[in-house]
Amino acid sequence: MAKLILHKLCKDYGTGKPAVNDVSLEIREGGFLALLGPSGCGKTTVLRMIAGFETPSDGSILLGERVLADASGVVPPERRNMAMVFQSYALWPHMTVADNVSYPLKVRGICGQSYRDKVMEALKAVRLEAYVERRPADLSGGQRQRVALARCLVTAPDVVLLDEPLANLDRHLRQEMEETFREFHARSGATMVYVTHDQAEAMALATDVAVMSEGRLLQVAPPAEIYARPEGRLVGGLIGQGAVMTLPDNGGDHRNLGWDEILALFVDASAGHPTMEMLVRPQDVVIGGSGLPAVVEGVLYEGERYAVRLTLGDGQRLRAYSRTACAEGERVAVIISAGWRL
């Protein structure tokens, strides 16, 4: 196991806009990187380059000292000892579930008891022991995804690439699977790269979170840090459910703003100051009390609580949580107890 290094990686499919643009990233030995970003931002393309399915248009990929891909050539995927869960699962329709899962072992020439044990273990981990003899076409969507998962985890790869591996699973299975990943990671020490749309999942699993947008890497940091200190509007908007507000710049140099400061900025708003952007997370917005006047735009029932969309007097939008239902169009007062200057 060694560091996985992406150096100035680019990929252009020839569509005019590069799919991946100048991405440089180091994933430490045995690290667990979550790759976040909006749909179409190039996450899958990055994984495919790491796996060796696409040749980078520029830049290089290294695993420790070993050059996997650069201008002079590429190591073919079969010699990279990696495993991947494809976004499209990529199951082999002519093989049974058991054959699909055991194939990487067979290729490595593993057989006998340890082979059977490993396969059963992997199938148990994804709760598919009862489906060994089925063909992928006769499985439900989530079951297919689990087969892909089992196939990925059955060997001991150096690098594991997971492309939205839990998208089709229910919450319970998801939690179990997250647990499985964590165990697998701890046990095997493999470097994991995990693409997901689910920010909570990323936070829960990863040692580092990377955020991409339109082919570029915006920020890489540990989960708590990226949550607490997002860089720029895009990352701020993506991590957590925060709203980004534009306020006059008070020129202060600390970035964590309290209610008093925020209130002061609102009062200032009319002046011709230069502006700045501030990220406000919904849990920092308290409805009630004597705050800023706002109108309820929409209310979403989330079970545990209501997610409320608010519009302030100056037309800016906010999101807040409330344990009680509000009516649409209701006028309320809000206190913004914390904000983060982007």
Binding site: P77, E78, A90, L91, P93, H94
Partner: protein, 564 residues
């Protein structure tokens, strides 16, 4: 309110009966008529006599063994080309796949003669190298192995076309997943690519096998000198001494061939049963393998094969057309274009034959595409118990030697049609009908294998969009199986373009086909004219293929087999 259908079946109610009646009319009825004609034989005990003749059994064994080994050879050669040209990064794909279509166009007997000429005492090539065996030394091709080898050469393009369509439907991510699992390219080939394209391979192998069972030209030239008879040559020799029991004999021998075809079909079904080839999700983007230092080697191998399969026999053909008589050595002095002059400007049968064959081949090719798609759809989607029987009925006519089919058609159609009072006998339509019957299996096979690989959800999505059966067919299914549909059209076109034995008995004045014209010229000793006409036919096909190339950009992807 729309009437509920009996089943949630995706096919309209008329489809199965339509296909069944088509097959019954064109495939079953003529053969039934033949059996009826021979029925007295069956009861007179002659059938038993026939079955007790060792000659019949040795012919059956020869037929099976030549066709089987021929099939293997065809699968090896066709498979090699299909895999190399669709999956690997060899150079000159366009030219190679273009040329690879052509051996089918060289009539089997010409192909056989060319090979005999190439490898025998009279071989110009061997003579030039000074290693020609002395006059009269045994010819290695006059053997079961030789026949099988030529079957392989002749039928390899059929396997190629059918397999290629299967390879184009492979899911790219499935191959990638296997690579990432650590499988070397060869393992990926063995474990993923070949099993997934099995329907295509099996279809191609089946066409090759059945073509071998019914082939007359090659065993006639390579087999008879070595006393190796196959069922078609045996049937032919029975026809030569036509007697009262001949129909019965043909019926019995045909039944044996039919049984072989059905057995072949069984094997084919067994090979495909219980497996799933439906590609889930997106497919189509073919993966390529980088060959690295193996590339020049593979390319050399492919070119050598092409040379031996196409260029050498074609050169033999050309040289035969340029010398005035057989056995004269071609030199600048002896060469003359008089054969071409004669063929092009003096023989008016040439024009008629070109017109007829083009009409027959294109009508058959496109007609069978329509019927093949409809029949393929019923066979793959309809869960009817009769589908097995139906496929057998479709298979048998192609396996029978053309002459049997044509005898059956004469028997059935020589008299005016009941009710209508007109007769199609003696017109071009009877040839067309016979072509439809014989080549349905060829047109159907690639289509069926492509339908097997189709993700059913794609059709379901169209149904839910409100598309009726016809719309789905036109908008979704046919474009999705385009490579197979293209293969089917091209296969049928090529085969019917130089077809001989079916039309041999069915033609009459004005309805000669190219095959008949070539055969008659050859048979009456005008080898130079026959060769010249064959050369012209090959050139015509090349021109047609080039024309196709012009419109290829507007056709669905994958239809034209030499474009990648």
């Amino acid at each position: 309110m729309p009437q509920p259908l009996a089943k949630a079946n995706s096919q309209p109610r008329w489809l199965f009966p339509f296909v069944v009646s088509f097959v019954a009319l064109l495939c079953v009825l003529p053969l039934a008529r033949l059996v009826a004609a021979g029925v007295s034989t069956f009861f007179s005990g002659r059938a038993l006599d026939l079955l007790l003749e060792p000659a019949v059994w040795s012919a059956a064994v020869n037929t099976l063994s030549t066709s089987f080994f021929g099939m293997i050879a065809a699968v090896v050669i066709g498979g090699l080309f299909a895999l190399s040209l669709t999956l690997a990064d060899v150079r000159g794909k366009w030219l190679m796949s273009f040329l690879f279509m052509l051996p089918t166009m060289i009539p089997p007997q010409v192909q056989a003669l060319a090979w005999v000429g190439m490898s025998g005492p009279s071989s110009p090539l061997l003579k030039a190298l000074g290693i020609a065996p002395p006059m009269g030394s045994p010819q290695p091709l006059y053997s079961v192995g030789g026949i099988a080898l030529l079957y392989g050469v002749q039928h390899a393009p059929l396997v190629y076309l059918s397999l290629r369509a299967g390879l184009l439907a492979l899911p790219r991510d499935g191959i990638e997943a296997a690579k990432l699992a650590g499988a070397s390219p060869l393992r990926v080939l063995r474990d993923i690519i070949l099993p997934l394209s099995l329907p295509g391979i099996v279809a191609g192998a089946a066409i090759a096998f059945v073509s071998g069972v019914g082939n007359f030209g090659i065993p006639a030239i390579l087999g008879i000198p070595a006393q190796i008879y196959t069922l078609p040559t045996l049937i032919y020799s029975r026809l030569a001494s036509f007697g009262g029991s001949t129909f019965g004999d043909i019926a019995v021998l045909s039944a044996m061939i039919g049984l072989m075809a059905v057995a072949g079909l069984r094997v084919q079904e067994r090979a495909l049963r219980g497996k799933d080839y439906r590609v889930i999700g997106l497919s189509g983007a073919a993966a390529t393998f980088r060959l690295g230092r193996w590339r020049p080697l593979l390319e050399a191998l492919l070119w050598i094969l092409l040379f031996v399969m196409l260029i050498a026999p074609f050169a033999a053909l050309v040289s035969a057309s340029l010398v005035p008589a057989y056995g004269i050595v071609l030199t600048l002095k002896t060469a003359s274009f008089s054969a071409y002059e004669e063929i092009l400007f003096r023989q008016n049968v040439t024009q008629t034959a070109f017109a007829n064959s083009l009409f027959l081949a294109s009508t058959t090719a496109f007609g069978l595409l329509v019927i093949g798609v409809l029949a393929g759809y019923t066979l793959t989607r309809g869960g009817s118990r009769w589908t097995g029987l139906l496929s057998a009925m479709i298979e048998i006519p192609y396996a029978l030697p053309g002459i049997v089919i044509s005898v059956a058609f004469v028997l059935l159609f020589a008299a005016p049609l009941p009710l209508l009072g007109v007769t199609i006998y003696g017109t071009i339509w009877i040839i067309l009908a016979a072509y439809f019957a014989s080549f349905l299996a060829v047109g159907l096979k690639p289509v069926v294998s492509a339908l097997r690989q189709l993700d059913p959800a794609l059709e379901e999505a169209a149904r839910l969009s409100g598309a009726s059966f016809y719309r789905r067919l036109f908008d979704i299914i046919v474009p999705l199986i385009a490579p197979a549909a293209g293969a089917s059209v091209i296969l049928v076109f090529l085969i019917s373009c130089n077809e001989l034995t079916v039309s041999a008995l069915l033609w009459s004045a004005g309805t000669q086909t190219l095959g008949v014209a070539i055969y008659n010229l050859d048979d009456s000793g005008s080898y130079d004219l026959a060769s010249a006409l064959s050369v012209l036919v090959v050139l015509m096909v090349v021109v047609l293929m080039l024309l196709l190339e012009l419109v290829a950009a507007r056709l669905p992807k994958g239809v034209v087999p030499w474009r990648n």
